[in-house]
């Protein structure tokens, strides 16, 4: 990854702050974190994903997730040559332990990691009856679990299936874009543990962010663009058969 001098000037102090916070051990927002200076998104680079499931495991470890529910998961697609509109899709336990070996076959295979798209026009926040889920000023969709009623309306309204009701807490739960990490200059747990760089956090308000540059030089798509949700999980190399 080529880092210019200018980028180092931004990255080094951020890393220093992050390092200090990690050393200090007390979780608090990095003192120079200003919500209005950031607008978060994610890049998912499909050709790089090898379906190892590291991200699913890392997310579960970072966020103490219950079994059987996923803040992120990986799907494996098998698209036949004749019919692009009817893929065979599997996601065994969300892809947490990887995938079974696929026999060489006609058609193509690829992996698609999925997660909350942190939509800027998010339908889930639109339908929440009390204001327990919201979009932060820096573009992350969060759930206030001390305010949520557990009515599950938001779960119904999400077109991507990324929300669920926590079986013990009985409130809505979903990917937080590791808000507790990104506000301290760290990256998300899934991005940190991805061995191939298929998942990359991006700050859309930071022109020096290298992924920002990637988005400008590649064709990227979002899932279900017809839903007009303002999704901010950008996919590079997304096949038309992806649901």
């Amino acid at each position: 990854m080529k880092i210019s001098r200018r980028q180092m000037l931004v990255l080094l102090p951020a890393a220093a702050v992050a390092w200090r916070s990690v050393l200090a051990g007390t979780p608090e927002q990095a003192p120079n974190y200003n919500k209005s200076e950031h607008w978060w998104g994610l890049l998912i680079d499909i050709p790089k994903c090898i379906g190892c499931g590291n991200c699913v495991r890392a997310c579960q470890a970072e966020n103490d997730l219950p079994d059987g529910f996923f803040r992120t998961w990986v799907e494996r697609y098998h698209v036949s040559d004749e019919d692009m509109t009817n893929p065979q899709v599997i996601s065994p336990d969300g892809g947490k332990e990887g995938f079974p070996v696929a026999k060489e076959d006609a058609g193509k295979y690829f992996f698609v990691p999925k997660m909350c798209n942190h939509c800027s026009d998010s339908p889930c926040t639109q339908v929440c009856p009390v204001g327990a889920t919201f979009v932060t000023p820096d573009g992350v969709v969060l759930v206030d679990q001390s305010y949520c009623l557990g009515c599950a309306y938001c779960v119904q309204a999400c077109p991507y299936g990324c929300r669920y009701i926590h079986p013990e807490k009985k409130v809505a739960d979903k990917c937080t874009l590791c808000y507790h990490r990104i506000t301290k200059g760290l990256t998300t747990a899934c991005c940190e543990s991805c061995p191939t760089g298929a998942r990359q956090l991006v700050d859309l308000k930071n022109p020096n962010d290298p992924i920002h540059e990637f988005l400008k030089t590649h064709s990227v798509q979002v899932l279900k663009p017809q839903m007009a949700t303002g999704a901010k999980a950008y996919y590079n190399g997304l096949d038309g058969s992806v649901r």
């Binding site: 390092w19 470890a61 332990e97």
Partner: protein, 157 residues
Amino acid sequence: MNVFKDAGHLFRFAGLFVLAFLVFLIVRGFVVPRSFGQYGHYRGNAISDIAAKPVKFAGHEACESCHTDVLDVKKAGKHAHVNCEACHGPLAKHADDPTAMTPVKPDTAVLCARCHTATAAKPKGFPQVDPEEHSSGVPCGTCHQPHSPAIDAGGAK
């Protein structure tokens, strides 16, 4: 005045509404959290509550600050962009206080197979082998140095 005399009961009914509304307003003043509405229709303090959650993965920069020798080996090899905790698991506890928690070395027989077991589903250019054919069950770490795994590039053990 006659109207009021004969419609008195209606005013009483309306009065109940007004009373209930006033009680509601008073209760609301106590019950709604102070930070509600600070940034939008939600409890403003929820943002800092969520940001305050504990971190489990330290992040590769934290590891690299101390383990510069490993970094030197890694950045010259094929695993240059594989972050430390991708294999070693969440180690913020160790980064906070290195003596308090000593990480366990991962078992290469299990760990490497997750990424490198050959399957038609993985991208064609990605290094992948059939573990049985490749090493007949011998653990990967026997021949490959995980931090710089390519054998030609001096990664042999």
